[in-house]
Symmetry: D2
Subunit: 328 residues, 4 copies
């Protein structure tokens, strides 16, 4: 058992802590959260000890640290843990501010093999199968990628000001997936965004609906569709078009049950939100962290992936603001 | 243009008459129906002349006769037309009474190449594709066949006494399809039937729900499910299981439109009834009749198929009545 | 029977001529084509008479003229027929040159009720059902539209120079559908296009792959994906996203047959090309022409729709050439 | 943590032991298996101690015993554990011999609240949702049930003599599900079985293909289709037909990935076998056992369900042997 501790016991924290506790090769020994009423029950449930971050850093038996604190603390927490010689699992994003991230580049590049930034969608078994089939060549040379990423319902307005905006908070997943699946970095971004859903989001300076076109040096094209509210659940689809055919990931349904009635055949609902849809991905990324801790593999994503996706997000925001494509 | 005339301008008659009139190689010249208010408008619509049956039989230019009169007149009408040297398209069934049919066997066997009994489902493009794929060997040796044949809504009670009962009126389609698809005649029938839907049907001595198992000499098994009322439209599915896999025909939908909403993904309705579901089959059987008239092919089904399916229907009725399998 | 004549007996001409001949309320009396070996057999098949265009124009009994001549003759032929008092069915496009079209605007606006330009996709029963369901309000207010329009295989290079280019030849369908479905005209076009498939197309100055984003005054967004070669057949899908849900048209399959084998469940192929996929739409547009001829309805599309879609196509071409969005 | 021990570390044993070890409320402390090379590695993996059955029975801290020994030892093991005051999870079947089972009825009826016989399919989330929707009344009164239960590949011939035969070994699942879903016990069984797949199975006196029709007192009908080899994976489907519509569970696929190529649209494979298809059900039944141990619920199935399904299996075997329906 490799001992790990975790910072943060909020919504994402609870997911990661439970996955760490249930993992056969990991032992979750410490849980750090400034809110004792939040940390306590989760620690009890999982047989972990509430600790201070300092105690975690000072304990040489704790080899891994899972950073699931508030977004604005991710980078500092991760750096502290790295400096203490820990291997770090950091919930995405590493930081929302590209300049701040680049300012730490020296230290973070050094730590590249020790820092895993958890872009969960890369671990979804459906997307992994998609990537494998693209790479198998069965659709020939890849030409286009279409990503549909629609949330079921708008976030509470209070979340908007600290979110980084639609592109950094939400499209960031697509900006990470697109080069990962295309095998090539985008060189141009065109984004068109509107506030069509919740005027309060617009008043706070953000958008809720966007269409993005990425292009790569070799001419590949990626279309991304984002919406903060679908009305029918979490819409998570990807289609890859190649010279010989297409391969796609469709939406899942909660069960394989359907009903045939007077109004037609009705399938079960799509998983409502990311917690349901990506439960397998969260478990798989913890398994990946166990492999990183065991020295079996390098982190799937770290500083470089954080910078790359953030650059695309900032370029998209500039494109949406100016109405013109942005070259990278 | 090959000249044809038709007997009967009712619901099925209108389908066949319109298909004959629209066929590029057929000319529908005469329409026979004792009800002038029924025959007249259809004749006008299609540019045909209302005629007596005698006049049709006497006209040497009329080479084909389509029999779409009332069921109890089918056999007499077909025989009259055959005696007059016509090529005959007879709406199924040729007759509901096996003994009467066998009594005419001498004359009907003689006419085998001139009598087409229109078992419409053999002409459905989906079932034809199914048969071709079974025969292609891609699922290996055929072992089992499952037929779902559920009507959307019960017929009016007045229809029941003249219908011949569920097995002769409705399952007859499955009794024709099963040997056609399996390439082998059944040697045993077990049928279990209930009156679960409309007690009036039970009072009239009929059933509305049945499950039938057919077995062939080589051990192949066919399961048939019948219901007079589905609640969701016309359910018309067939699955064939072989040593290497399965091939199946699923239900069609009215359009390729679906809606994603709060309660899940909803496909469009299934075609509501046979007129919609088998429109293509009705057109294809008229095209087949044109080929028979042109001497290009022998009739797909005639006296022998009529007898074979009726024998299965009568055996099923005996099995359901006695609760025991019936060997043929 | 309303008498009509047709110009052009090529591939599209044969489709329209057969639909006109089969229509219960139309009589195809004349067929005009300078190539006697092309016009003759089709005229014989359909019982029509080969005629000159002059004879058609001079015959007062011929009330409708179907223009299915070569694209560059469409406008002249349509104008001649209109001047002779005919009602005109013109295969799209009315013309590929926006300036030429606008030069005839005086005459064409006068004729608006007498000129039907056959944008076939508006007559597809699936798209009509889609439009009806958008308008029914069941998905709430429409926000986004996604159109996938991929051809199965590249056209012969010889076709490219006269085609008008991808946007005028192929995307034109989407430029017509988008405002029709959104109920609002686009005010901006961004198009990114590449030559990814056939370098010969690039050498001829055209592109074969494009992604287009249209935006309307109210902020609605439409994404279009075009490809000249899919590798899997004709990909014709539309998705409409609204405030309460989504409604979509999926691809059709040739039959409802699927095969389950060692490698998974395989559905039947998509219809290979437009002739198969839109057979119902071609028949429906001829039925619409019969209604126009009978004075029952105004033409679904004419000069205004031709101009509107061509303006979008030209704007898209400019956007793709400059890399910047074009405002209309 | 409630302490449990397990007998048997074979294929099914490993599944149950891993689920017990991973369960947050259960502690797997002991593992009993006469084969040290089998028990040892699994015990090490799960942090359990290899023990003798006697030591398990003697340890008052061990409250629950999971019986996953060889089938012929299930009944004796379960009885021993019950006598020692344990709560028992017994892998199905409790026994293959109805007479033996009934001989122990006094003791087993006493233990009904303490004995859970793990009919896994009742815990499948898809089937549970199916049952809930049948019971919700949305399809009206239930009339028919169709169960497709096809194994991907025949078992090794050596398994056949100890398997109990197709009906007791395989159809037993359907005999348990049918009354559970219909809410009513069958009163008649008709079974037709063949050896179509592997002649070696026939030489050993067993069959590999069967169709079964069950009928209930109220007239409900259930059709079951069994095959020892599908050629395309594990086929596990159920359809329930009611007075207002139908509700069904379709096959799952390994991922939501599909490929569109020249030969059509191909979905991913079905889960190959029970270990994959019912992984969720196995976890859910261990969770149910935790609830039984905690006194929160009575066992979902025990002695009575074991007898009921075995009676149906024996009746089906008699029906298949005699060719006549068997009344219960």
């Amino acid at each position: 058992m490799i001992k790990v501790a975790q910072l943060g016991a909020g919504r994402m924290g609870a997911i990661h802590a439970r996955n760490a506790a249930a993992h056969p090769r990991l032992g979750l020994v410490g849980l750090v959260d400034p809110r004792p009423d939040v940390a306590g029950p989760l620690a009890t449930e999982l047989g972990a000890t509430p600790m201070t971050f300092e105690a975690v850093l000072a304990d040489p038996d704790i080899r891994g640290v899972i950073v699931a604190s508030s977004t604005d603390a991710h980078l500092d927490n991760a750096l502290s843990a790295l400096r203490a010689g820990k291997i770090v699992f950091c919930e995405k994003p590493l930081d929302l501010d590209l300049a701040r991230l680049l300012a730490a580049s020296g230290e973070l590049e050094q730590a590249e093999g020790k820092l895993f930034v958890a872009f969960n969608r890369r671990f979804d078994p459906h997307y992994r199968a998609l990537k494998a089939r693209i790479e198998s060549g069965e659709i020939g040379a890849l030409e286009s990628l279409h990503i549909i990423n629609h949330d079921p319902a708008t976030p509470p307005p209070a979340f908007i000001p600290t979110s980084g905006g639609l592109f950094k908070d939400f499209t960031i997943h697509d900006f990470d997936l697109a080069p990962w699946l295309m095998g090539e970095k985008p060189v141009q971004v065109f984004a068109w965004a509107s506030c069509l859903i919740d005027p309060e989001i617009g008043r706070l300076g953000d958008v809720d609906t966007a269409k993005v076109v990425l292009t790569t040096a070799s001419g590949r094209l990626c279309m991304i569709s984002n919406s903060r509210r679908s009305g029918y659940g979490y819409d998570q689809r990807i289609e890859a078009f190649g010279s010989k055919g297409a391969v796609r990931v469709d939406n899942l349904t909660n069960t394989a049950v359907s009903v045939w009635g007077e109004t037609g055949a009705q399938a079960d609902r799509f998983p409502y939100a990311f917690i349901d849809r990506y439960a397998g991905a969260y478990a798989a990324e913890m398994d990946h962290f166990a492999d990183v801790l065991a020295g079996k593999t390098a982190p799937e994503a770290g500083f470089a992936a954080s910078v790359a996706s953030l650059e695309l997000a900032e370029a998209a925001a500039r494109s949406a603001a100016t109405g013109a494509p942005v070259r990278l």
